[in-house]
Amino acid sequence: MPASGSSSSLELVLTLPSPRELSDTDLSPYDAICLGNTYCRRVEGNFAEDLGLLPDAVATLHAAGKKAYVTSPAAPRGHDMAQVKRLIDAAASAGADALEVHNMGVLRVLREKGIPLPAHMGAFANVYTHLSAKVMRDYGAVRVRPNAEVSLEEMAVIARDAGVEVEVLAHGKIPLGITEKCFLLEGPEGEDPKCPSACREEHWLTAGNPGESRARSGAGAWVLKNVGKGVLSGKDMCVIEHLPRILSEGFRIFRVEGLYESAAYRSEVGAVYREAFALASSGGEYALRPEWGRTLTKHSRNGFCNGYYFGGSGQSYVGTVLQGGNSQV
């Protein structure tokens, strides 16, 4: 069985929060779209919150021959669960192909509803072992995206032994944390005039002196992206150099993180990967095309990383081409 499960055809998934991104992005490189923002319910036009938007969005994607998934809140409190139940019903009645689930309570509510809407476990579901994936499978999960810390080798074990598909983050910011309060607001959500516009702008956190800290420990400077109720990696996860190996291990489902990125980022990164997958799947010699490197670099403000996949620090980069073998760029 291939590592990604029973399906052997390649699937490139993109995350899109709202109708604005759905219309401004070239979706042609993608096979599936995951609709909605898992970090914050208040994001403008959030498909996971403004449920009236779902039927049209799902129908549009289906008409274009694409799968439509809908995400759910990563850390819903008890008072959020009524909305979660409405979300599940709305996603099912809109004909969504799966619900992305990060929280075990949400998974349980989905199972209790007994509707034929499969679950895809998201990045915050903390899937680290095949045994956990099996428990989630018993609740209706057919796909898991292991936690960012899980290496490619460990993911292959999960895919082999859990009987679920495994999704691999191919490119984009790594989700590193979720917070209860919005860091970009001073007042309460809903009262602060900066909500919901503050997270439409870019905010970066930087710390440490690169030269100094590198000399001391090799860890390099810290750059993160703060999106209000989520912390993302400052660097872009990038596996383009490693596609032949990843495909040879059987992985077939890949995600490009499109949240909090530009339309050009989503459109052009997807196009690069679509071409790269075609070349890597062709069986011929695989080498990065210079134009791919130029496009990815253009959209990468703080360099690339992929360290978790190889058992190291998340921010480090394993590779020889894109950063000249320099893991600290």
Binding site: A75, P76, R77, G78, N103, M104, G105, V106, L107, R108, V109, F124, N126, Y128, T129, L131, S132, A133, V135, M136, Y139, N147, A148, E149, E154, V157, I158, D161, I174, L176, G177, T179, E180, F183, E201, E202, H203, W204, L205, T206, A207, G208, E212, R214, S217, G218, A219, G220, W222, L224, N226, V231, S233, G307, Y308, G311, G312, S313, G314, Q315
Partner: protein, 320 residues
């Protein structure tokens, strides 16, 4: 009556907290808990501490609450088998697959779903109950109504941390530390200690507590020397309410603190709880707050020193 659970970072600390009034002590099996190895115990130390607890009619609970590799679960079950053979019946776990495996292998053991499970709603608690948990640690900011639902409607034990840290992120769902620095290090039993990952190996570099700049799209500094909110707390005011609510366990974290400080903390909470239970109607918190001030001050001093050391180890600059 609510159980007072305290930390046993060393054999000495385990003994001191039990002697100072804890009903139960939790210890980390080496490589398997949410602290680095120096605050964990090898098997012989766990067993010796368990015997001491048993001799007092008290409980020792073993933390296996890291998120392991699939291939490491047999190591966990083998270690648990040895402990069960020594009369240990109480465990703390995070990985829901390992939890179910342990519950099936050793029927009747008590399993606490760890703080790393990030249980934020009652349905979460139901899920972990179905996986074998007999008690759940509630997320640090959970409100009383949700705790009540878990206790009464879900029907599992509720464990509340009254002295801990409110991380900037949801604890158990954060990989900021390992993003900054992580190394795979295997011990002689073959367990990877995943150094730098609090979820997997216990060591957190607390990189959130470094001093950083917030920059906008053009790179200009929007706010300088900003600190992400991450506070250590004492929920002393909440204790009477938590007892009235019927919480099962009141937990004090602190394996990385000094033994005298942890001993003082345990004695303080023991006396406070006993005083409240003796006469709820005339209980007054003011005097306890005065006594607590000294403990808070000592705790904060130790924490500051520890945080600076961890951030420095991560390669980042600590706060000035």
């Amino acid at each position: 009556m609510a159980e007072l659970l305290a930390s046993g970072g060393t054999v000495e600390m385990a003994r001191v907290v039990l002697d100072n009034g804890a009903d139960a002590v939790y210890v980390g099996a080496k490589g398997w808990s949410r602290r680095r190895a120096q605050y964990e115990m090898d098997d012989e130390e766990v067993i010796a501490s368990a015997r001491y607890a048993q001799s007092l009619g008290k409980i020792l609970r073993v933390a296996f609450n890291t998120l392991p590799s699939s291939g490491e679960v047999p190591l966990l079950l083998a270690k648990a088998e040895r402990f069960v053979g020594e009369g240990i019946r109480d465990f703390i776990l995070t990985d829901v697959g390992a939890m179910r495996a342990l519950a099936e292998r050793f029927p009747g053991v008590q399993i606490h779903a760890s703080i790393g499970c990030t249980i934020v709603n009652a349905e979460d608690a139901r899920f972990y109950k179905e996986a074998g948990a007999t008690q759940v640690v509630t997320e640090c900011r959970m409100d009383r109504e949700e705790m009540r639902k878990i206790r009464q409607e879900v029907g599992v034990g509720v464990e509340v941390l009254v002295h801990a840290t409110t991380c900037y992120t949801y604890l158990g769902r954060c990989t900021m530390s390992s993003y900054t620095r992580q190394e795979w290090r295997f011990d002689e039993e073959g367990k990877n200690h995943f150094l730098g990952s609090p979820n997997r190996g216990g060591l957190c570099y607390r990189v959130c507590l470094t001093e950083w700049d917030q920059r906008g799209e053009d790179g200009s500094v929007e706010a300088g020397r900003v600190v992400l909110p991450n506070l250590a707390y004492f929920l002393v005011d909440d204790i009477p309410g938590l007892i009235d609510l019927g919480v099962t366990t009141i937990k004090i974290q602190g394996r990385e603190y000094s033994v005298p400080l942890v001993g003082n903390m345990v004695r303080f909470y023991r006396d406070l709880i006993d005083s409240y239970l003796r006469d709820r109607s005339s209980f007054r918190m003011e005097a306890w707050k005065e006594r607590m001030a000294g403990i808070v001050s000592a705790r904060d001093a130790e924490r500051r020193e520890k945080t600076a050391s961890l951030i420095s180890e991560s390669g980042l600059s600590a706060q000035h």
